[in-house]
């Protein structure tokens, strides 16, 4: 199968490479681009360990071909570290509140939480739990992950100028 030329923005940098059309985005990231933050956990789009941010959406990169991402803007957990190399707020809060143990789900979890807080900067605990329900963790029982995300939201809001708090809550009522 002939290879395709694939180009996209990854963590703010333009990257490119050759891949068979059938190459999954997760493999292209991990093996061709050596971006190994996103992990492979289940391969059937249940666990979310491979979550990356693609054009402002949290997606499972095990269920997307690299060629489908041609031209996209992708952020992985590597892109959430501060420019000066210090931990980003979510990363720091996961550490502060013991929101990780083996660390395998963490990159996907943090990347998902990043988008969740972009869309809903002031989530309730219930909204956080619903919002990360596409990411499985086997170690933490989620309690400290939820705590970390809520703490990150608080910090991010504290740093922001007091603006409108008209967050469109991701309603969860229907899922109960």
């Amino acid at each position: 199968m002939s290879k395709m030329h694939i180009k996209f923005h990854l963590n703010g940098q333009e990257v490119e490479g050759l891949a068979e059309p059938r190459m999954l985005l997760i493999h292209f990231l991990r093996e061709n681009l050596k971006v190994t933050g996103p992990h492979i956990g289940c391969e059937t789009s249940h666990c979310g360990a491979c979550t990356v941010d693609l054009n402002g959406k949290s997606v499972k990169s095990c269920t997307l071909f690299a060629c489908q991402a041609d031209g996209a803007a992708i952020t992985t957990v590597e892109g959430l570290t501060n420019p000066d190399g210090t931990l980003g707020v979510l990363q720091e809060m996961f550490r502060e509140h013991h929101g990780l143990q083996c660390g395998f789900c963490t990159p996907g979890m943090i990347t998902r939480a990043h988008r969740l807080l972009q869309e809903n900067p002031t989530p309730t605990e219930e909204e956080v739990r619903f919002g990360i329900s596409g990411n499985l963790c086997r170690c933490t029982g989620y309690q400290n992950i939820v705590k970390a995300i809520l703490a990150a939201a608080e910090q991010l809001n504290a740093h922001k100028a007091p603006s409108s708090s008209e967050a469109v809550g991701q309603n969860v009522e229907a899922a109960e």
Partner: protein
């Protein structure tokens, strides 16, 4: 869990997409959000020579609400549907159901068109669209045609769509103001298909009821809807129970599913009635 090889196409318009389907025949499949097809490809339960990605086709996007009708482009994602405030006002049932589909990541990519066109009995949108009386627009070499959602499903993964047609739009009549609605779904966990799910619309003199994952197609029962329209809840449930044909799987045996179907349907009806203005 590695798919077999294929050629990738990303046509910019519908005509090109259909051209590719015609050119490659059975070898070609379209992909929208990919969350049904790609796992099947990874399991090598779907092998194809040509993958036609619909993401660049502008004609398949957008949500319009006008003249008592909502038109959803096939590539509308569940996420876009959930976030669309006017749609949530016009047809709140859609949003209520979409929130119960899969998980956030899947909803960002999973599309309405893909969900209804795939013919997977586990998908929520087919039953929902039958309940709503939606029509699907199909575009193919012979042009455009409309098929009612209630006539679309033949058996598991078999639909009225021809291999060289693309489902382009879903047209939904906006229910009359004050119509009660509910989507109730029992599942083992987030990300699971329904053990049983029920979509209910109930107005002052009309009702529509459909259920999901209780047969090899979605089940819309005219009799059940008429019974409910007449205020006969038990008649509605009985008609629906006569129409479903669940199979045993890891969610449970048939007797359990029938029991749960009735319970979930009653809950959806109660909820819909309580919301009826």
């Amino acid at each position: 869990m590695i798919p077999a090889g294929f050629e990738y196409h990303r046509p910019a318009d519908l005509a090109s997409a259909v051209g590719l389907l015609q050119e490659h025949g059975e070898e070609a499949r379209v992909v929208a959000g990919g969350h049904s097809l790609i796992p099947m490809m990874k399991l090598r339960m779907a092998e194809l020579g040509h993958l036609v990605d619909l993401q660049a086709i502008g004609e398949l996007k957008g949500i319009e609400i006008a003249d008592g009708t909502a038109i959803l482009g096939a590539m509308t994602t569940q996420h876009e549907l959930i976030e669309h405030a006017d749609l949530a006002t016009a047809i709140p049932l859609l949003r209520e159901a979409a929130l119960q589909i899969a998980d956030p990541q899947v909803r960002y990519l999973g599309t309405v068109g893909g969900n209804v066109a795939n013919g997977d009995p586990g998908n929520d949108m087919p039953g929902l669209m039958q309940c709503l009386g939606a029509r699907f627009e199909l575009y193919g070499p012979a042009g455009t045609r409309q098929v009612a959602a209630r006539d679309f499903y033949e058996s598991a993964y078999f639909t009225a769509r021809a291999d060289d047609e693309i489902l382009t739009k879903v047209t939904i009549p906006v229910p009359a103001a004050g119509t009660g609605y509910a989507y109730a779904k029992q599942k083992r966990k987030i990300g699971d298909y329904a053990t049983a799910a029920a979509a209910v619309l109930v107005g002052t003199a009309s009702a529509s009821v459909a259920m999901t994952n209780l047969s090899d197609t979605p089940v819309w029962s005219e009799e059940a809807g008429m019974a409910l329209a007449n205020g006969d809840i038990e008649g509605c449930v009985a008609a629906m129970l006569a129409a479903i044909d669940p199979q045993e799987d890891m969610r449970g045996p048939i007797a359990f599913k029938k029991h749960v179907a009735a319970v979930i349907l009653r809950r959806a009806i109660d909820s819909a009635l309580s919301r009826r203005a």
